[in-house]
Every structure is written in C-alpha cells, then in structure tokens.
Amino acid sequence: MSFATPLFTRLRLRLRRERLLARARRAYRGLSPLADRTGTIAPDAVVLCATIRNEAARLGHFLAHHRRIGIGHFLIIDNASDDGSAKALMAEPDVSVWSTRASYRRAGFGMDWVNGLLHAHARGRWVLTVDADEAFVHPHADTRPIGALTDWLEGQGLRAFGAMLIDLYPRGPVEGAVCPPGADPLTVAPWFDPGNYTIRRNATHGNLWIQGGVRARVFFADAPARAPALNKIPLVRWGRGMVYASSTHMLLPRGLNSVYDRAGGEFASGALLHSKFIAGLAGKAAEELRRREHHAASREYRAYAAGLAAGVDLWCPQSVRYDGWRQLEALGLMSAGNWA
C-alpha cells in the first residue's frame, strides 16, 4: 500500500479486511461438507472455487471447460439447489462440495463462503473464482494450460490476474437460444459487444471499474451509473489475510488490485465468457425477483424480466461472434502482455 494514502483510509481498509476475515471464518463453520476430497489435490494444482444454485443444466460444460484449461480441483458451495446439482457434483472425482441453506445476500452475496473456503483449503495455491455461467479464457489458452500462466505469473512476482467479463448473447430472442444440458452455451449465444466499455479507476481500492457491453447497451442505456461492473480479478495466489471484498471485483489488501499498468503498457489479462443470455433466463429472473437475494434489490433482474418478456433482440450490426482469445486480444479486451 502506498505511503501517500491517508492514514485514515488505510485504517478503514484494514478494519474492513479484518471484519471480512472474521465473517469468512464464521461463514466457513456454517458450511456442511457433502464431499471433501481436498486431501487428493496435487501440490501444484490450480483450483477453482464457485458458488452455485440450481445449475444442473450448466455444470457439465462448466466442469468440462475448466478441466480442459487445466483446473486440477473444484471447490463448490451449493446454496440450496433443488435440481440435483449437489448430487451430480458429489459424483465427480475432482470436485469437493459443501452445502448451505443460509442467505446468499447475508453471506455478502456468497463471498463470505468463498473467502472462508479458500482460507481453509487453498492457502498457497492459485485459485480461480468464477460463477457457473462463466468460462475463463487466458492468453495462449489454445496451446497452454492455466498452470503455465500461474507459473509465469509466479516468475513475474505477481499474485493476482485480472479478467474482464464478456457478456455473450444470441441473435434473435433470448428464449429462442436453447442450450441442451451439458452443451457449450457458446454454440447458441456466441455474440458480444466489441468496444463500448467505460473504464474508471477506484482510487480507494485501486481497482478498475469497467462497465459496458450488452447489458449496459440494452438494459442500462438510460441509467449508465447502475450498469453492472465487468472488472474481475478471478485468479489469485491465495494467502494469509486476503479477502475478496466485493464479488471478485476487488480484493484486500488492495495492492492485489493492481493488475493493470498506468504508464501506458499492458499487463497480461484474461476474459470471462459470461453466458447469461440463453433460454431459461426469463424463469430465473422471475425466481430471483421473488427471492430478492441479488444486488440492488434485484434491479438487474427486473430489467431482464421486462426486456425478455418483450422478446428483445440483443444483437446489433456491430456485434461480433466469439472466435478465441487472439480475437479478444486484437479487440483490446484482453492481452498477453509480456507473456510471449
């Protein structure tokens, strides 16, 4: 942390971090292990952590994609699924599952569970924290596994790696993009917005705040300040005293948020392909509205429900079809930095 930061701010961040750490310890005690296979994790494995709820249809592809990029073990928190998600996960040999029926909202939108689990099982490891509708893409993903990236980051003396959420969508009505269970949602929803992103810097926490993409364009065009944040720091070498402070948008201590260059150069960064907009979202939006467990009184889900009911087409003439990490790098949405 910079010495230029006012003492008061440093103190406030420190207190917040201690509070989050205490919450994490408490939250971890509230998780019941359904399948704890953490003893089988290889010493240098990169692990993935996710909180899920009723994702049975997505899990097949979610696991397959992240196994393919080289994830060695999955740490999953099941938040009261009733569609068999937990049972399906328990049958997988490289997955450990915990369950809780507690409130997602009151657990810091799941982050208390994640922080608790990572402190209990992932210290000293590289951890990828994502949602079930996200697929991590790193530079050279077509030829090098994620372990090559984490070894390189380690060699560079870096402890965290940034990635941007890329919202994908279909052409035509969202409810028409039917993704069979276990299939790759990219096959039905491969489009994204190539270059309408605003980027600011949060001076207190030192992270970037990125907004834009299809959600901003279609659902928040008249209320830009409320558009969802797309900046994430999903890959971290987990260590003592660390916490995710707000989803995976920022970490404390805040030095971990410096995953970008300010002098004009490019840090290596990745992307999270976000396949929210496929058939089934309307039902999900309705349910989340009823549960009121999401951010900002579920304003986001209200916007989706309204738009989806109207059969809105998210596609526009400038939409681009996803074609791999090199395409995202050419567009400037991610970068290999100096990882040649």
Binding site: N196, Y197, R262, E266, S335, G337
Partner: protein, 486 residues
C-alpha cells in the same frame, strides 16, 4: 587436445526435468556434474540425487544454498567445475547449463561442435560501456557499488542503499588486472581456460572482490575469461532472453519451431510442463532449420506490448492515466460550422464521416444506426456518462480508417476540453458568431491544449473554403498502412 564434453547442471526448484536432462547428457557419453540448490527440500531432492548419483559419468557436487543475484551461484559453479575437471581428465570443454535448459540439437552434434574448436571459449562477454547489455537497472555500478540487501525481498532497502552510495559518491575500486565485462550466465569454456580461472594465482583476491559485485554470475567468468582464453567466440551457446523487468522469458510447446530456428545449441528457460518441447528435443529434433530471428522478434513484440501498449486502448490491463500519451488511437477530424462542405470533402477524401456525434438527442453515427463503432449506443445517456470513453472507443473501434465528425459549438460543452487535450484531434472550427462558440474557443485555446484544430473567422473561410478544408484534411495525415490495427 580433443576431449569429451563435460556439462555442469545447476538445479533449482522442480527437479524432474533437470533429472531428465542429466540422463539425456549421460546417455550420450557426456560427463555431468550436478549441483542441486540446498534450498530444494530434502524430501524432493534426496531421491532424485540418489538416482542420478548411480549413473555412469555423473557426479554430484556438495550443495550450496543459492540466492538470486548473489555470489553463491558462482561458488556453486566453481565447485562443480572443480569436481568435473578433477574427476574426468578426458573432459575438453565444459558447458554450463541449468535444470531449465534444453538442448535444441542432438548431444553428439553439440559435443562435436565444441570439439571442432578445441581452443575456443564460447561465452558472451561485453566490455563495460561499449553498448548497454543489461535491460534497465544497474550496469557499471554492479562493479562499483556495495549491495548489502537482496534485490528480491528487500527491494526498498536495496534501492535506498544504491541511492545513498550515489549521493555520497561512494565507489569500490576495481582490482588490478581485470577489465569488467558482462554477459549471459550460460557458457562453454575449454578445460584450459576454466582451470586457469579456478587456479588463478590472483584468485583469492579476485573472488573477494566479485563476492561484492551484484549478479556475479553475469560478470565473474565473463571478466576473468579474458585473463586466460586463447580464443573467445563472444556468443552464448544458449538462447536465453530476459524481459524488460529482468525476468527470463519462458518457452512453451507452441514455440518449438521458433526455438529450433534460433540457430542456438540450447535454450532456456523451458516451462517444466512443456511436454511437447521435452519430447521433441530430448528425442529426435530432426535436421536443423535455417536460423531466423522469429523468436527474438516475438519476444521483442511482447516486451514492447508490456512497456508501451497499444496507443488509444483502455483495457483491463491498461489504464494509461499516467502515460502522458494521447488518449485516442489515431488522428481524427472535427468539423464545426461547415456541415455541407465537410460532408463533400470527407466523401472525396474517403473519411468515415459521422454526423453530429454530440447532439443532445443522441449520437448521429455514419450510417445512421442505433449503434455505432464498437456497438456504442446512440442514446445520449451512455455517451454523456463518459464522453472521453465514448470518443476513445469510437476512434479505437474505427482505427482501420480515418474518422471524422461534425460538431455544433452549442454541443461542445463536455467534449470541448477533451478534444483540446487530445493531440489526435485535427480539424477546423469556423466561427460564425453562434451560441457556444466562445466557450469552445476558450477550451481549444487553453494553455494545456495539444490538438491541431484550426479556428477561423467565417469571412476568411467563405473567401477560400477549399484551401482551409484542404489544410484540415492534410492534418489528418495518410490512411493507416495495413489497416493500422494489427
């Protein structure tokens, strides 16, 4: 005297690949001295060492703890060299490798290469001051300052110690009889040269001095070789490159062909998981392709991307608020007060001309859609939420051509100061005495303004419109070559 090849392998960290390398050399009849960093935990190192010690022609060296940038690496190298030369009198050349090195050619070919030049030392060695060899950081001061703190781990103290010595003008005196040289750590020396260095009558004095030099593994042999060599080929046999921050570039499976075409005999640093590289180069690497500079070019491009980035890009890894560079990717045209003339001229010049991008009702993109370049929404809220981002996105997304837009003075409130600070803003403002012009003029004439937007009275413009528009278009420069993007 023709002799066998001897290899010193310095091992740190993960030993599986290093062990495979040692076996590979030993199988080919090469003599190997293995040094395992004492910092490698015993439960990992013990079994590997025991297995290697049983191999014919392999000798283990007493373990030193090696710290980066310190003398211990040279000490370990010298210890290994003594053991190797003492144990195997038939060794003619000694090649220094690390456990992360990989031979790019068959071992027999490498051995024959050195044996064909029995009196030649292969070592990169640059006299201090000729051309800068290091990438940033200290160079001559490596020899003249003292370094009581570790660069990695005690960085603040390290920097402070350097600053204090500079301010006080402190400098160590160079010992007599040497001219400081620097070069890559990986070399191949003749028995005679290496023995000369090990048994140098001045050795004790010189070692005492080099103990205090920073990163002596890039200075000790590179300097002392000049006291003992008969013939020096000043090039490392190993392709190894550092990035701008001084960390070694690491090679992966997808770079196999590029590595083969470096023309080097060995390469470093290989990622331990690069199964394909180990399979290919420890198997049959095939005939050597003609050497080219593709890998060096690739690494240089990566270093440049890290150091300078792409102009006009804001991205998750690049937030260039401290770069002092133009916020946009390339020059673009701004035309204020001359809609009809600008439309005609832009069409003739092949520009992408948008309408009134900053119209309060919404952005009028070329083509008139609800969305513009990069999928920017035409709705005014998003544009007015972050006008600088809107402009940057527009120019970035359309950087394969030259873009221009119309501006009404009355619409320029928010964007005027942004245009004024952007050196890529080119064009023409024709003053007709309309609302908003005064504020726009003030913004464009501000002392901090870096743009090339000409302000001109309507009378002068009406008298000679073609000349003024021509000058504004000329300021946009030629179309970007090859699309300008990548």
């Amino acid at each position: 005297m023709r002799g066998r090849l001897g290899v010193i392998v310095l091992c740190h960290g993960r030993l599986t690949r290093a062990a495979a390398l040692v076996r590979h050399f030993a199988r080919a009849g090469v003599r190997v001295a293995v040094h395992v960093d004492a910092a490698v935990p015993e439960d990992h190192a013990g079994p590997v060492i025991a297995a290697l010690a049983a191999l014919e022609g392999v000798v283990l060296v007493p373990r030193h703890a090696c710290s980066w940038g310190g003398w211990s690496i040279v000490a370990a190298t010298e210890a290994a060299a003594r053991v190797l030369l003492g144990r195997f009198p038939d060794v003619g050349h000694v090649l220094l490798c690390s456990g992360a090195c990989l031979p790019l050619r068959p071992v027999a070919e490498i051995a024959a290469h050195f044996a064909a030049l029995p009196d030649t030392d292969h070592i990169e060695t640059h006299p201090l001051g000729a051309t800068r060899w290091t990438k940033g950081g200290l160079e001559a001061e490596r020899f003249t300052l003292r370094f009581p703190f570790a660069f990695r781990g005690q960085r603040r103290l390290f920097d402070a110690a350097v600053a204090v010595q500079r301010r006080m003008g402190l400098a160590r005196r160079l010992p007599e009889g040497i001219a400081p040289h620097l070069g890559a750590q990986w070399w191949c020396l003749t028995r005679a040269t290496l023995a000369g260095i090990l048994d140098d009558p001045e050795g004790a004095r010189l070692r005492r001095y080099f103990r205090g030099v920073w990163i002596p593994d890039e200075a000790y042999f590179q300097t002392l070789v000049h006291r003992h060599a008969r013939e020096i080929l000043p090039r490392s046999p190993t392709f190894a490159r550092f990035d701008a921050s001084g960390r070694p570039h690491v090679f992966h499976d997808d770079q196999a062909d590029l590595l083969a075409a470096t023309g080097a005999l060995l390469a470093r640093k290989i990622w331990p998981g690069a199964e394909g590289l180990y399979e290919r180069f420890l198997g049959d690497p095939g005939p050597a392709p003609p050497a080219d500079g593709r890998l060096d070019a690739l690494l240089a491009a990566a270093d440049l991307r890290r150091a300078e980035g792409r102009a006009g890009l804001a991205a998750p890894g690049r937030f260039a608020d401290r770069s002092g560079r133009a916020p946009t990717a390339r020059p673009y045209g701004v035309f204020c007060g001359l809609d009809a003339e600008a439309r005609r001229a832009a069409a003739a010049a092949g520009l992408v001309l948008h309408g009134h991008l900053f119209d309060p009702a919404g952005a009028a993109f070329a083509g008139g859609g609800m969305t513009g370049p990069g999928a920017l929404p035409a709705a005014p809220f998003w544009r007015d939420y972050a006008p600088a981002d809107f402009l940057r996105n527009l120019i970035w997304a359309g950087r394969e051509g030259t873009q221009a837009f119309l501006l009404r003075a009355a619409d320029a409130g928010a964007i005027g100061p942004i245009l004024a600070r952007d050196a890529n803003a080119r064009g023409l403002v024709v003053l007709r005495g309309l609302p908003g012009e005064e504020a726009l003029c003030a913004a464009l004439r501000a002392p901090a303004a870096r743009h090339a937007i000409a302000l001109i009275e309507a009378r002068a413009f009406d008298a000679d419109p073609a000349r003024h528009i021509g000058a504004a278009l000329a300021a946009l420069g030629p179309e970007p070559a090859g699309g300008g993007a990548r």
